[in-house]
Amino acid sequence: MSVEINDKSLKNPVEVFGRALVELAETDERVALVSADSYKGGGGAEFKKRFPERFFEFGICEQNAASVSGGLAWAGYKPFWSTIATFATMRCFEQIRNDIVRPRLNVAICGRAAGLSYSTQGPTHLSIDEMGILRTLPGMVVVAPADDLDMRNTVFEAVKLEGPIYFRKQKLMLPRVNPNDYEFKFGKGVELKEGQDITVIACGSMVSVGLCVSDLLAKDKISAGVINMHTIKPIDKDLVIRCAKKTGLIVSLEEHTVFNGLGSAVADVLSTECPTRLIKFGFEDKWPVDGGIWEEVMDFHGLSAQKIAGRIKQCL
């Protein structure tokens, strides 16, 4: 299958994050990096070397790291707190809620190895629900960057927010999906491909999968548009409504449970603004099976381009 992308080399989101953070810190002395024994794996080694006075290691204690990030932000810093996605969001959920989100502090929580990135590491490391958990918090921005450009933009835009943000860092190498000259704005989806029959709305790693799905469907004369909905909260309502009115059937793709993630955010818009059929692709209501490489495990769960395209065809 062919995907029309501008740069076919695969990008490591963690490296892109690390480079962007250093570049940002060069011009903004408020930028800080908070680590819970997690900076090297999260792409922060260069940051630590360049800006040791703004690098804060706390050892393996996520609750403390989250609250300290709130305290640093309260006193004027712009902390990026980075660790493995499940650890960054769940053990310390209440610290995030009370000490970062409720006081609307500008902390960027960076969840590394999100989704099934750690597909061989066992159940505790699979982060398939963290976006949904954080989406419940008022004022939270939740982002799943689809490629290196999204990641870089997310880092640079995060510090311009008045409040908190969570974003994913996949371990998986991601192909570039966005046009070089695209406009990135939180809460604004990117229309990568126009379609007449259905619209695929995807986030994170599933955007490139969505483009493949569209190519596969094209062989059967099904025209599927593809949206990179990098921000699942706030969701781009206008774009969802426009797509629903244009193509009818909407398909959501996410490396996340189908509960309270991208699909649910899209469903919230459709059900109230523009009732339209929606097929949500993601993990169903059971713990995911792991133990294989990412592609195998995703395929097992019906989330490969072939299986998604097949199911869409059955539904049409």
Partner: protein
């Protein structure tokens, strides 16, 4: 050692007992945590009158010390103290329990000037304090951070995560005050868990520790004035207190962790506070 004069001590005792009476008046509109508020009341009174570098007329003054009420259920007492030192133009006491009140049982920094950070769930304040104190250090600021915690709160693991962090970053601009009234909400802490005493625990984590009688105004003042106790070490003040201190029939009892006094209760409590004030004043002279 800096000491208060007898007159200054008497004045602060009077203030502290007046704050207790006002807290009882506030509670008469609903319910609240009299036990913890009163075990900390003498310390709150000394802090806000003599220790903290603050400007009640300019609560957001950018050079102020930061006080974090981690044991936030004590807020009914803090509101009264803030009012007594001039934070508010209007009497806020009688707004307790009103719709859209600015003084919920646990404080909300978004609602009330003078509250720097909202707490309520225990075990958060010390970590937030570490973040703020660390920022002040890096910014070469002389601002200080004081965090008031309860001793029941010490069971939260996050407290000890913060204790490690404060010591690692040599935060001598951070002071943790542990109000050791020996009771949690439902029982004496020693009946629940094996955690007492606290001094060696903090010392082992690399803190400079001093112990005070939480109801001895002169001792509280002199100890707070000694901060920082030791260069490059965070400060810990273990304050041995009596829960609900000042209302004799409420003291040292789980039944008065939280109280909704009726009219008779308000009257009896205020009488008891007045009697205890006289005793305290006599002890000083």
């Amino acid at each position: 050692m800096e000491k208060l004069s007898i007159e200054e001590i008497r004045d602060l005792i009077k203030k502290s007992y007046a704050n207790r009476i006002n807290t009882i008046k506030l509670l008469s509109k609903g319910d609240g945590h009299i036990g913890g508020a009163f075990s900390s009341m003498d310390m709150l009174t000394v802090l806000y009158n003599k220790i903290l570098k603050i400007n009640p007329k300019d609560p957001k003054w950018d050079k102020r010390d930061v006080f974090l009420l981690s044991a936030a259920h004590k807020a009914v007492g803090l509101y009264v103290v803030l009012q007594s030192v001039g934070y508010f133009e209007q009497d806020i006491i009688w707004t307790y329990y009103d719709l859209n009140s600015k003084i919920p049982t646990h404080p909300d920094a978004e609602l009330l000037c003078g509250i720097d950070f909202s707490f309520g769930s225990l075990g958060h304040g010390l970590s937030v304090g570490v973040g703020i104190a660390l920022a002040f250090k890096r910014q070469k600021s002389s601002r200080r951070v004081f965090v008031l915690m309860g001793d029941g709160e010490a069971c939260e693991g996050s407290v000890w995560e913060a204790a490690i962090a404060a010591s690692t970053y040599k935060l001598d601009n951070l002071t943790a005050i542990i109000d050791v009234n020996k009771l949690a909400c439902e029982d004496f802490i020693e009946n629940q868990v094996n955690i007492l005493p606290y001094e060696d625990k903090y010392r082992d984590f690399g803190w400079a520790v001093k112990t005070v009688d939480a109801h001895n105004i002169g001792q509280i003042y002199s100890t707070f004035k000694e901060v920082p106790f030791s260069k490059d070490k965070p400060n810990c003040i273990i304050a041995n207190s009596v829960k609900a201190k000042g209302v004799s029939f409420c003291e040292n009892s789980c039944s008065y962790h939280h109280w909704a006094p009726d009219e008779q209760g308000v009257k009896k409590a205020i009488e008891s506070i007045k009697e205890n004030l006289e005793k305290e004043l006599k002890n000083v002279s």
